[in-house]
Amino acid sequence: MYEFLKNLDRRWVFLMMLLAVAVPILFRAQFPERPTGLARAVFDEIEKLPAGSRVLLAFDFDPASEGELGPMATMVVRHCCEKKLKMYFIALWPVGPQMIDDVIHKVILSDFPELVYGEDYVNLGFKPGNEGVIKVIVTDWKQLYTTDDRGTNIDQIPMCRGIENIQSMDLVINVSAGYPGTKEWVQYAATPYPDKIRIVAGCTGVQAPLLYPYIPQQLPGLLGAIKGAAEYEELVVQKYDRKKGRQPAAKYQEAKRRMGPQLVAHLLMIGLIVLGNVVFFMERSRRP
C-alpha cells in the first residue's frame, strides 16, 4: 500500500477529481446556503436603492472564469431588474461584451421583456485602457463613451442624458476575474471620491483575499467566488421567489448547483493532502 501511494500515478488523482466533480453534477447534489455578512452587504446595497436609481455594471471577466462568475453576474442583473434600476453595462476586458450579451439574453430579454433598451438598460461595450478608462470616466464620461455598443450616439439614448461622469451613478457593481477589475475600480473610482462613488463587487476565489483590505470603507460588500454567489443567490431567491410562493428558475439556482461539485472536490483535496502527508511521515520514519 505504501509503495502504491508513494508511486501513485497522477492519472489516478485526475480520475478521482473527475469523479468528485462529475458525480454531484449527475446526481444534482445541492446543499443549503447560509449567507455571510459580505453577501448580505452586497444584497443590502442594491436593495436599499430606490426604483430608477442608476447602477453601473462593470463586467470584467471572460469565458475562462464564467463558471465562477457567471451565476453572480446573472443574479446581480436579476436583482437590478426586480428593483427597477437603470442599468449601464460596461467592460474593460475585450470579451466582456459577450458576457454582457449573455446575461442580457438570459435575464432581461427572457424574464423582463418589458424593459426597454436605452431607457432601462444600455450596453456601452468594451473600452481599451484598463484603469485609464476608469480614471477618465470618473470625471468625464463622454471623453470615452460617445456611442453605445451598437454604435448609437450616446446623446440619443434617453437614459444616458444628463450623465457627466461615474459620480452620477448611485452604485457601481463590478464582477471581475483579475486585472483590470475590482482593485482598479476601488483605487481609481471609490478611493478618490469616497462620498460619491460606492462600489460592491464579485470576484474569483483567488482574488478575494487581496480585496479584503478594502472592506468595508472602500468596498462595502464582496461576493467571493461561487460560494459568495450562492449566498447572494439565496438572498435574492428568498426575497423575490420564495416569499412570493414561487419556485426559482434553474438559472437562478446555478451557483447553488455548482456548490455541490465544489464541496466534494474540496473534501477530495483535503483527503489527498492528508494521504500525501501520511506517505511523507511513513517515508521519514523508514529513513535510517
Binding site: P63, P192, P213
Partner: protein, 515 residues
C-alpha cells in the same frame, strides 16, 4: 534621442498625473493625459498582434520545438481577425438599413435643374454665427433674393430648418420651401433623395407610369441612367420555397400587386423589396387567441385528455385561467404558454405535447420563411453596419465553439493539476507548513456546506469555533492584516520606484538597447 523622447514623455505625463491628483484646478490635465493613454492602449492591440505574428513566424521559420503550435496560433489569429474585421456573415444593422427601398447612386451635383425648388426669402443669420443644420447645408443656397433647395426635402430636414431659427416668418418660408421641394404628385411618398448617401431611392416596386414620371423630370443621361437602374432593381423578383401555406393565408392589401404564391413550384414570389410593416403584415397569418367560454374550455380539456393522461387539479386550474383570459397572442402562442405551464405542474404525454405545440411550430416556421423572403428581397445598403459578433456569424461561431470552450477548459484543468500538486507537495515539514495546512483545511471546509455540517452542533458560546465562522475570522483578521502590510510595503516601493522612473534615474523600462 531614441531614449530621450520616451524619457521626457514619461516624466511629463507622470508629473501631470501627480499634480492633477493633488490640485483640483489641474484635474483636466490628468484627464487629457489619461485619454491619450487610452488611445495608445487601443493602438497597443495592433502592436500586440504584430508582435504575436513576429514571434510565432520566427518560431516556424527556425523550426523550433513546437513550431506546429505556432502555426495553429497564427491560423487562429488570422482567421479571427479576418472574420471579425470583415464582419463576414454578419447581418447589417437593422437601424442603418432602409427596408422596403431600393437605391441608385446619384451625386447631388447630378440632380437635374427641375429638382431645384425656389422660394422668395432670406436665410436668417444666427447671432452666434452658427451655420445651417448639417442635414441641409449642402442643398440650400441663397441666390438673387431667393432661397434655393436642390433635391426633395425630407421631413427631418424640414424639422432641422424650422429649429434653426424660432421666428414665425422663417417657419413660413421653410413651410413654403418644403412644399416646393416635393416630388410631383404621382411620385409623392415613393421617391426620395438622400444627400448623405448620394442616392436616389424608391419605395416598393416601380411601375411603368412611375418610371415615365421620373424620366420626364430631366433628359440628362446621368439622371436617366439612375432612373433606369432604380427601375430594374425595384422590380427584382425574389422567390422563396414554401411547401405549405397557413390555412387562413391572405396576401396583405399593401402587397396585392407584388406578391403571389406559385402552387406549381411551391414558391412565394415577390416583386421588389418588403418594408418592415409589410413584413409584419405578412407574418400575421394566424388567428388571434380569443377567450374561450366555459363550454369551449371543457371541450378543449376533454380533447387534450383524450390524447393521453388526465390533467391534475393544478393543471386544470391553469388551463381554465389561461383559456378564459384575453391574450394578445395568436392561438399558437397561447397554446405554447399553456403547454409550458402544464408541463411545469405535472406531466403530459408526447401526443398531448404535440397537439399543444403543433400550431406554434407552424407559426415559427412561417415567420422564418417570411424573414427569409424579407432578407432575400432587401438591397443591403451598409453590409458592414452589423455587429461582428452577431449570432450565426463566423466570428460568433469561432467565439462560441472554439474560444469559449477552450478557455473554459484551460481554467477548469487547474483543478486537476492543483489536486495532483497538493498530493505531492503540500507537506507538514515544519511549523509554518503545519500552520498553512491547518488554515487551508479550515478555508477549504469553510467554503462549502461541509464546514457548517461538521461544527453546527457546537453551542452558541463556542460559535466562534464553528468552521464557517473561523473561515470568516481568518479572512477578515489574519488575511487582511497580512495583505495590508504587504500592500503598504508595495505602495512605498511603487512611490520610490515611480520617482526614480520620472526623474530618469531608473531607465530599465526602456530595455537594454543602446542609444
Amino acid at each position: 534621442m531614441k531614449r530621450t523622447v520616451p524619457l521626457l514623455i514619461t516624466a511629463i505625463v507622470g508629473f501631470i498625473f501627480v499634480v492633477s491628483f493633488f490640485t483640483p484646478a489641474a484635474e483636466f490635465l490628468g484627464e487629457l493625459a489619461a485619454v491619450w493613454f487610452d488611445i495608445l492602449a487601443g493602438i497597443a492591440f495592433i502592436l500586440g498582434g504584430g508582435n504575436l505574428l513576429k514571434v510565432h513566424l520566427k518560431k516556424i521559420s527556425d523550426r523550433q520545438a513546437g513550431w506546429g503550435y505556432s502555426g495553429v496560433t497564427i491560423l487562429a489569429f488570422v482567421a479571427t481577425l479576418v472574420v471579425g474585421l470583415g464582419k463576414f456573415g454578419s447581418p447589417p444593422a437593422p437601424k442603418q438599413e432602409f427596408y422596403g427601398e431600393t437605391f441608385a447612386t446619384l451625386p447631388l451635383e447630378a440632380l437635374p435643374e427641375s429638382l431645384v425648388a425656389r422660394v422668395p426669402g432670406q436665410i436668417p443669420e444666427k447671432e452666434n454665427g452658427e451655420p445651417l443644420p448639417p442635414s441641409v447645408r449642402r442643398q440650400i443656397v441663397q441666390r438673387d433674393g431667393q432661397i434655393e433647395f436642390r433635391g426633395w426635402m425630407l421631413s427631418n430636414q424640414k424639422h432641422d430648418l424650422e429649429e434653426y431659427k424660432d421666428r414665425r416668418a422663417w417657419r413660413k418660408t421653410v413651410e413654403a420651401l418644403y412644399e416646393a421641394a416635393q416630388p410631383p404628385e404621382p411620385l409623392r411618398g415613393k421617391v426620395a433623395y438622400y444627400t448623405d448617401h448620394r442616392a436616389l431611392s424608391f419605395k416598393g416596386a416601380m411601375t411603368d407610369s412611375d418610371r415615365q414620371a421620373l424620366l420626364a423630370l430631366s433628359d440628362e443621361p446621368v439622371w436617366r441612367q439612375a432612373v433606369e437602374q432604380l427601375y430594374e432593381q425595384s422590380r427584382k423578383v425574389t422567390r422563396v420555397r414554401v411547401s405549405w401555406l397557413p390555412e387562413s393565408f391572405a396576401v396583405p392589401e399593401s402587397l396585392r400587386d407584388r406578391l403571389r404564391y406559385d402552387a406549381q413550384t411551391k414558391e412565394l414570389v415577390l416583386q421588389g423589396p418588403l418594408s418592415a410593416d409589410q413584413r409584419d403584415a405578412l407574418k400575421k397569418q394566424f388567428p388571434d387567441a380569443e377567450p374561450l367560454s366555459a363550454k369551449q374550455r371543457t371541450t378543449f380539456r376533454k380533447k387534450l385528455e383524450s390524447l393521453g393522461r388526465p390533467l391534475n387539479d393544478e393543471q386544470a386550474k391553469i388551463l381554465d385561467r389561461l383559456l378564459s383570459q384575453p391574450l394578445p397572442e395568436s392561438v399558437g402562442e397561447r397554446n405554447k404558454l399553456l403547454g409550458l405551464a402544464l408541463l411545469e405542474h405535472g406531466g403530459l404525454t408526447k401526443e398531448q405535447c404535440d397537439s399543444l405545440f403543433a400550431p406554434y411550430r407552424q407559426e415559427v416556421a412561417w415567420r422564418a420563411k417570411v424573414l427569409e423572403l424579407f432578407h432575400a428581397a432587401h438591397q443591403v445598403k451598409y453590409p458592414w453596419s452589423g455587429e461582428y459578433r452577431a449570432q450565426g456569424s463566423p466570428f460568433w461561431w469561432l467565439y462560441e465553439y472554439a474560444f469559449k470552450p477552450l478557455t473554459a477548459t484551460m481554467f477548469a484543468m487547474l483543478a486537476f493539476y492543483v489536486a495532483s500538486a497538493a498530493f505531492r507537495a503540500f507537506r507538514a515539514k515544519n511549523v509554518e507548513a503545519i500552520l498553512l495546512l491547518g488554515t487551508a483545511f479550515i478555508i477549504l471546509l469553510g467554503r462549502t456546506f461541509a464546514g457548517v455540517l461538521l461544527t453546527d452542533w457546537l453551542p452558541d458560546s463556542l460559535a466562534g469555533l464553528k468552521i464557517d465562522n473561523l473561515t470568516v475570522y481568518i479572512m477578515q483578521v489574519f488575511n487582511t492584516a497580512g495583505n495590508r502590510a504587504i500592500m503598504i510595503g508595495i505602495a512605498l516601493g511603487i512611490a520610490s520606484t515611480s520617482l526614480k522612473v520620472l526623474l530618469g534615474v531608473d531607465r530599465s523600462y526602456l530595455g537594454s538597447g543602446g542609444e
